[in-house]
């Protein structure tokens, strides 16, 4: 996966990214150890691709997103956006980078400043980056509002007057306001009702097609990710354990964790139900991860080797990558 930096198509390249949080205690805040929230993650996203990052809570998927946009400090590794070295970029380059990369957050209630009108929320970044002002700014904001399915009349309303789904539309409008190349969506639908979820997913899909956007889509719901993404990477305890095209991943998962994750999702249609292989036990604490393969204490196929040696990611053909000593084969 490394060394593809010269590939013209690749818009975001994450190489061996590690984000560790120190655990401090005591009067003098001594560092006792590290929580390896993101532990050696590498992936790359092509122009126009929708890349899904899926995993259970605490697996580090959101931290990946935040590190990529430098809201968290990377402990190690590189992030390349086009040709920009994001981790070491200076202030000016970061400004330019922020213009081209925007975020949509999970919680539609906390992600909008309650004291600002919709017009200000969407318009402020446009003004800051000196893209438009005055009448032109207003036109632009109204236009974006219309594109995300909201009436431009809402421009002078405050966030508390909107429902969750509408707020998420405002978040999306804000993310689109700068005409970004890459949009990172961190669980954009998980806080919404089922019927609203579908609206937002459709909207994101339409916008992606319309602007030829590149998306990094983070979610815990495999069904949503599978519907939405071209390529899916499955994370477990800070590591990517499997990555493949969405269709391939569903039909032929190699990693036992992927298999378990998919079988655990309750299905309405009995014909789509898979044989349930629920992993035993709890997700181990990320502050104290197991030795060897992180999944081995819960894995039904685990052997002695799994508890000793950390499996490396290996390519199994067609961009299907898996980190498992004994990948499933059907």
């Amino acid at each position: 996966m490394n060394g593809k930096r010269n590939d013209k198509d690749i818009i975001l390249n994450v190489v061996n990214l590690k984000t560790y949080f120190p655990v401090k205690a005591g009067l003098w805040r001594k560092t006792l150890g590290y929580i390896k929230a993101v532990d050696d993650v590498s992936f790359s996203i092509r122009q126009g691709q929708v890349f899904g990052l899926v995993g259970e809570s605490g697996c580090g998927k959101s931290t990946v997103a935040r590190t990529v946009v430098r809201l968290e400090k990377a402990t190690f590794g590189k992030v390349y956006f086009n040709d920009l070295d994001v981790i070491n970029a200076d202030k000016k380059d970061i400004r330019e980078f922020r213009r081209n990369v925007s975020l949509v957050f999970q919680d539609p209630y906390s992600s909008l400043n309650p004291r600002m009108t919709v017009g200000n929320i969407i318009g402020e970044p446009v003004k800051t980056h000196k893209i438009a002002k005055g009448e032109e700014l207003y036109e632009k904001v109204a236009d974006i509002l219309e594109r995300v399915g909201l009436s431009p009349e809402y421009i002078n309303r405050y966030p508390h007057e909107f429902s969750g789904g509408q707020r998420q539309r405002i978040s999306i409008a804000r993310a689109l306001a700068l005409n970004p190349e890459l949009v990172i969506c961190d669980e954009p639908v998980s806080a919404l009702d089922v019927s609203i979820q579908a609206q937002i997913l459709n909207l994101l899909k339409d916008i992606q097609a319309e602007f030829d956007l590149t998306l990094l889509f983070i979610a815990h719901d495999l069904a949503v990710v599978q519907f939405f993404c071209d390529v899916i990477a499955v994370m477990y305890l800070g590591k990517i354990v499997e990555q493949a095209e969405s269709r391939v991943l569903y039909e032929r998962p190699f990693h036992p964790y992927t298999e378990a994750l998919m079988s655990a999702i309750p299905q309405i249609d009995p014909s789509l139900r898979k044989k349930r292989v629920v992993p035993k036990g709890e997700v181990p604490s990320i502050a104290n991860p197991p030795s060897g393969c992180p999944f081995h204490p819960r894995c039904r196929y685990a052997q002695e080797k799994c508890s000793e040696i950390v499996p490396e990611l290996e390519e199994k053909g067609d961009g299907h990558i898996v980190a498992c000593h004994f990948p499933l084969s059907k």
Binding site: V194, A198, V224, P266, Q267, P270
Partner: protein
Amino acid sequence: MTDLLKIEGLNTQFHTEAGIVKAVQDVSFSVKKGKTFALVGESGCGKSVTALSVMRLIPDPPGKVVGGRIFLNGSNLLELNEKEMRKVRGNRIAMIFQEPMTSLNPVYTIGDQIVEAIRLHQKKDPESSWREAVEVLRRVGISDPERRVYEYPYQMSGGMRQRVMIAMGISCEPELLIADEPTTALDVTIQAQILDLLDELKERNRMSVLMITHNLGIVAERADDVAVMYASRIAEMADSQTLFMNPLHPYTRGLLESLPKLGEQVDRLAAIPGNVPNPLNFPSGCKFHPRCPICEEDPRCLEIEPLLEEKEPGHYAACWKV
């Protein structure tokens, strides 16, 4: 099959400064002995208020059960006084909540809390209650319960806490367990474990379960009977297989179609347009008509609220167009 819980014409309202919120309107259903009944719907549809009404835990004021009857084994819970009701709660009906992080008291050990629940309803000495607490924890699949009883809630993960909540709930072997979104806050793999546990306990104790959830997948897999709620009313009700194979109400159909399904390749989801209506300002007539694909400006839909009718044997729907 006999009904354990029978609800007839339940109406619950909240008096707010902005007006009267009719949170539950004319809801009737029954939970059979040893079966799981699922109440499914989106946020604010009244499913949780229904559950709290059964427990008589509606905060009053502003809330009040203004009509209907709730029979548990033939006796009307709404006629009991508070003292009698306290004996019902925890003893015959137990309830577990969505947030396992906040529904346990952080300052007491797990053991203390379970023992308290046991001693409240069964006259037992402390020592045997403590032994029973260990036993109950073992039954809900917590390993090493002898040690775990001394732990505090913050030392446990979300899944573990939900197991503890279930342990407290079943410690007095209730006839009915109300589970209000029991797995919404949990990861999918843990969710499957908890649901398996609930199924197993239901079998063993011949307990009935009233499951409140928004997740249709869980309902399809775990429930025997289902009622779909929309805007304070039941929109459709049937046994689970019938409802999912042959949904009648356009809302049920819309919900089913709008879900992305694992393993199914589609370009777009069939989303239901519009927003969930505000309970202070419900649309006239059928509350679903502004979002309904089959209403087609039918004057009946626009003006008269349809009632739940038996459209097919055992299959009820509230819609003019079916």
